[in-house]
Subunit: 402 residues, 2 copies
């Protein structure tokens, strides 16, 4: 790619973009360059009408009968089935329920159960904080027999001893965008006799995943980032088929029961990943998530990824060329295969720069202490947006020396 | 009350009902008599517009900035503050998060932590099944040291030994509507040195509750029944202030962290009940729940309860008088103070009768094996509805001998 020398060059790239039309599936406000879809995906065009119907025609008109007549009981499973191809899984391996954190808790506990005799959860300091908290909370509850081993990334291989039951990792680092080699880490865990649990919050919907082909055991992911399900959307959980017969989540909710409406006093887990459901499914939120997942339908993960890489490569190259004097450092890996769909830059006045960019309509994130985080969701971010964002960044950062 | 002898008498009772106007706060379909608000509350009139705004104006237009600019971070706490007076609690004692089942898990575990040395969860066979499942799942995870003691109601007092850490009870029985004496049971638990955990799913919003005055330790409740939050609405959890300093939930989510956006690797629980939050709050669902809770605003619990009792008393009296030959039995307590806001009848062909009532526009529930369940939400059920429902029941049940 020749680096664009003017905005028209960037527009030309958009003209050549074969998935540019996906942007029409979203409602994006005028005058905003949205580089924060990795925090919260934008509103899919289908969502307002769909939610209006679910609220007024389904709930309002059908009331309790919606559970059967409107397919509410199957909605969670339907959304799980729509997420499955995005992560390279079979529908019965995916459940949509609760939050990423809660699903992590279920699968950390279930993972310990899959490796009886081993009592260590191994994870790394760079994990998303809530992933660490959930592991520590679980270990505190289980008492002295279970421990959480938190190490630096470089120490992971060495720490994978025969005491480790679960290797729990965040696939894409929320700060730097650095991406693990999921297949290699999974194989390494297996070689050490452990199961692996991946947090896909920052990859599902933006990075092609092949969980079955990669022999992943367990995974969780987020509905409101690249899946565009709305603020606080339900999350998903993945359990490989080979573990279904032995999988025990400690959260025995009635919706994970094999026959919830028998109202039996004895618990009998449902088949497959569905046993990870707990309480009554949140229908409004699930309908919104279904619209969000559908906004990625019909386009291959490889095509999304190719555009994501082109966007981040362009951003990095333009920042290097045009913002050389701004005191910005690249905090993400240079090699695209080691990056998710985001680029992070460092600057001592990161918070002020992000605020000033926001005032100019460029929406990015500040992550303490010194990171500026730019997310490039390939479904709706344009090459011209990258151009405009770098132009704004240059103006803002020039005035803010550390 | 003189028993109405014709429909006009029932209409007269509606004319005298001082809270009849509350019905205008809901959208109820024409031709439907809705006696199932204890399964799913109806659509509040304010919800469609509110959700439309949250979706299009907040999420759609403000994107990630909604968390600060639209008060999303405070929404859960605001709804908790609105629920607090309905249950006789202080705002900081209530959290709105996740599902009733999950909140039960958190508080069962927390309750064990409040009584170190005691390792028994005591509950009764009549509990809502998911309440039993969650307790058993917790105990299985904790291993041999914790056990769940499930007894018949009549054996509860005797079973309250000095091994019991938590007495966990469903306030209103979902099958029969039988209501525990919450204050007496709480006092009994305290006398035995246990903490009490109430599941208020079938009482919050319909039965006046005074959790603080009754010295209740812990409670959970449902957002989609009498609080009208929509199918699968978020639930609430209550923790008495006296336990705040020692309360440990095992589910250490980032939203229950004292400073979630510090992204610290070390967990530090937030103040009060807020530490029971786990993942990112579900904004669409919370906005709908706020509308649901607001639909009960400005009316005292005592007034709602008085109407609820009048409705259930009328229903029972009319069934006794007009359906005497139908083979129906009263499965709810005769004494109104021992009933929630529902009346259950028994009949060997309960399922068929409920289906036939549904076909005639009277929406009630079947609970296996032989119960017909009629819920009387005082905010929108009319005395004329009771009359019409009994008239329909008589016609249907006469044709269905067991």
């Amino acid at each position: 790619m020749n680096l664009p020398t003017c905005r028209e060059d960037a527009l030309e790239l958009d003209g050549l973009d074969e998935i540019a039309h996906l942007r029409d599936r979203f409602i994006l406000p005028e005058g905003i360059i949205y580089l924060d879809g990795n925090s919260l995906g934008p509103l899919p065009a289908a969502t307002p009408e769909r939610l209006g119907r679910v609220i007024s025609e389904e709930w309002g008109a059908d009331l309790i009968r919606g559970w059967e007549g409107r397919g509410w009981m199957e909605l969670s499973g339907r959304v799980a089935g729509a997420i499955a191809p995005l992560i390279g899984a079979r529908p019965e391996e995916v459940a949509v329920a609760d939050s990423t954190s809660l699903n992590l808790f279920k699968l950390l506990a279930a993972g310990l159960g899959l490796r009886p005799g081993r009592r260590v959860i191994l994870t790394e300091r760079e994990s998303f904080p809530t992933d660490l908290y959930m592991a520590h909370g679980l270990a505190e509850m289980l008492g002295t027999e279970v421990s959480v081993r938190v190490v630096d990334r470089g120490e992971l291989s060495e720490a994978l001893t025969d005491e480790v039951a679960v290797l729990s990792l965040t696939h894409v680092d929320f700060r730097t965008g650095e991406m693990h080699d999921l297949e290699a880490r999974t194989a390494e865990a297996h070689a050490a006799g452990a199961v692996v649990l991946w947090d896909l919050a920052h990859s599902a919907g933006a990075v092609p995943l092949a969980l079955d082909a990669s022999a992943v055991d367990l995974a969780v992911g987020c509905g409101y980032k690249y899946l565009n399900g709305g603020p606080g959307a339900p999350a998903f959980a993945f359990v490989a088929s080979c573990h279904h017969s032995r999988l025990r989540s400690p959260l025995w909710g009635w919706m994970g029961h094999a026959r919830p409406f028998d109202f039996s006093t004895a618990y009998a887990p449902a088949e497959g990943a569905r046993r990870l459901m707990v309480g009554t499914p949140p229908i409004l939120a699930l309908a919104a998530l279904e619209c969000g997942v559908e906004s990625l339908a019909g386009v291959s993960g490889e095509r999304l990824r190719a555009k994501s890489v082109a966007l981040t490569e362009l951003f990095i190259a333009l920042v290097e060329r045009d913002c050389a004097e701004c005191g910005l450092g690249l905090a993400s890996p240079v090699q695209p295969s080691r990056r998710g769909s985001q680029v992070s830059l460092s600057h001592p006045r990161a918070a002020a720069i992000v605020a000033e960019l926001m005032a100019r309509g460029v929406v990015a994130d500040h992550r303490p202490p010194d990171l500026l985080r730019f997310g490039f969701a390939p479904a709706y971010v344009r090459f011209a947006d990258v151009w405009d964002a770098v132009a704004a960044l240059r103006k803002v950062a020039r005035g803010m020396r550390g």
